[in-house]
């Protein structure tokens, strides 16, 4: 992932910045300029809560090269209280215990390393509440 591309993504990756449509209330994450539901153009910046609930999940056992050392790992679609959904890894637990309905906190972590000695890429992962 080239550095300018990574840098552009910092607002959502580091700060969980989303956009709320002032017309219909839809929360889009990452932020967009056009509401995906009503096509409204008036969106305000909103930060997602650092917790949520698993909508659906899996355990990746055959992983891409960059994640091979971490396999098997759980991945899930998480819904935050604002109604935004995001794809994250679920860590600090037995991956087999992750499933729909699980309450999680979103924590700031190293996600991957850029190829060929490039930058370290950060973002959020989920951990089970009280885990």
């Amino acid at each position: 992932m080239p550095s300018p591309r990574y840098w552009r993504e910092i607002p959502n990756r580091f700060r969980l910045e989303a956009a709320r449509c002032t017309g219909c209330g839809t929360v889009a994450f990452p932020a967009r300029t056009i509401c995906p539901k009503c096509r409204g153009r008036e969106l305000e910046s909103v930060r997602l809560s650092r917790h949520g609930k698993v909508v659906t999940s899996t355990v990746v056992r055959v992983a891409p090269d960059e994640f091979m050392m971490e396999a098997p790992y759980a991945m899930a679609v998480i819904e935050t209280p604002e109604g935004a959904r995001l794809m994250t890894q679920v860590v600090d637990c037995d991956p087999d215990t992750v499933g729909p309905g699980m309450e999680v906190d979103l924590v700031f972590r190293l996600i991957r390393k850029e190829d060929h000695g490039g930058i370290l890429c950060y973002g959020h992962k989920a951990v089970p509440v009280g885990g």
Binding site: M1, E9, V60, V62, M87
Partner: protein, 382 residues
């Protein structure tokens, strides 16, 4: 709009075809389609291809393929919609003939996946790179999440999913073009390596090389090329949010339902009229979701379709008589055209041991990514 017919077809065997390059595969399939129809020229060529650039470092496939077919000079365009590239190439060819712009069009698909590229990473580029792939998800992982969401809402078991693979291998065993011409048992599927829970290795379509081509012309000219043309009576293309997280319900494939509605509407038919269907079973769970979204069966019957034999040869609505992507193979850009050829042969009564008796109306459904694009065609024997 003019009525459009398919008058010739050609395809390579699907599989690990190490002796053939991307262009070799294309030429073999396209030339066979031209010869079958006795055509010595075309007005235009559409080349469905997901990622020549990443798989073998080759873009700009329109002119390359026209040149190697001995037709440098002809209009030729590469078409991309991930794994639905072939189906979209057919749609563009159909529109070009229907509109009157061209009289003779080759709609093709080709993919060369076994030349050493990192296939998992290349395929992942059909998902949302910045919001999904960045975090470590794979394609089996995305479909596994669809499966788990579906299982949470419905009475769907791993065994139900596994029967889809058993059924499609049974069909594939009768297809001389299939990558896997052998059956598998339920036990083999259920005990195969877990790839991404709950999907196992034998729920996944393979990595394949292959090409397929069909020749299109106005129906009123079809008899020049064949005694048994097959008419394209409906075409529908639709999209859905790219990322699984951005869809209202990850268990529902809205693009499939929308593309089907458009195709049924154009053809003036209902799902109950369809007698044979090729459906995008890139992972076995996808066949179940797609059959439901296409309206071929109600949800409960769709879940149990392969278990009860309802979707097998001889059943109420045979699905993937070719062996599907699972057994026939899935050279991604070629798949939509290969599906078309199976239905073409079924409606001409040429499917041999796989023949659905008396089939007059058939359907293909070809999907891109985790369901962000879907294209449906409906065909009628003439």
């Amino acid at each position: 709009m003019r009525e459009v017919a398919i008058v010739g077809a050609g395809m390579t065997r699907f599989g690990e075809l190490w002796q053939s390059s991307l262009r070799d595969l294309f030429v073999e399939a396209a030339d066979e389609a031209l010869r079958a129809a006795g055509a010595d020229h075309v007005d235009s060529i559409f080349v469905g291809n997901m990622s020549g650039g990443q798989f073998v470092g080759q873009e700009h496939l329109g002119p390359l393929m026209a040149d190697h077919l001995g037709m440098a000079g002809v209009a030729a365009t590469r078409v991309e919609s991930a794994c639905a590239s072939g189906g979209v190439a057919l749609r563009l060819g159909f529109i070009e003939v229907a509109s009157g712009m061209s009289d003779l069009v080759l709609a093709t698909g080709v993919e060369k996946m076994t030349d050493g590229a990192d296939v998992t990473n290349v395929l992942a580029s059909a998902a949302d790179q910045e919001n999904e792939v960045y975090h470590g998800i794979t394609f089996p992982g995305l479909y596994a999440m669809i499966a788990r969401a579906y299982m949470t809402e419905n009475d769907l078991t791993e065994e139900d999913i596994s029967w889809v693979a058993v059924k499609n291998h049974k069909h594939g065993a009768m297809n001389p073009k299939a990558q896997f011409q052998h059956e598998v048992t339920l036990e083999q599927v259920m005990n195969s390596t877990m790839v991404s829970d709950p999907l196992r290795l034998l729920h996944c379509s393979p990595v394949s090389d292959g090409a397929a081509a069909v020749l299109l012309c106005p129906l009123e000219q079809a008899r020049k090329y064949t005694d048994r043309p097959v008419r394209i009576v409906g075409s529908g293309l639709a999209t859905a949010p790219m990322a699984l997280a951005h869809r209202p319900d990850p268990a529902r494939l809205d693009a499939v339902a929308r593309s089907a509605e458009r195709a049924y509407g154009m053809a003036h038919v209902t799902p109950g009229d369809i007698q044979v269907a090729e459906v995008h079973d890139c992972f076995s769970i996808a066949e179940i979701c797609c059959i439901e979204a296409l309206g071929l069966l109600e949800r409960e019957a769709a879940v149990k379709g392969a278990v009860t034999g309802c979707t097998a040869l001889g059943g109420r609505i045979p699905v993937n008589t070719s062996g599907g992507l699972k057994a026939k193979g899935h050279p991604v850009g070629a798949t939509g055209i290969a599906q078309t050829i199976e239905i073409f042969e079924q409606l001409r009564g040429e499917a041999g041991d796989r023949q659905v008796e008396g089939a007059r109306l058939g359907l293909t459904q070809n999907m891109g990514g985790s369901g962000a694009s879907s294209v449906v065609h409906i065909f009628e024997g003439v």
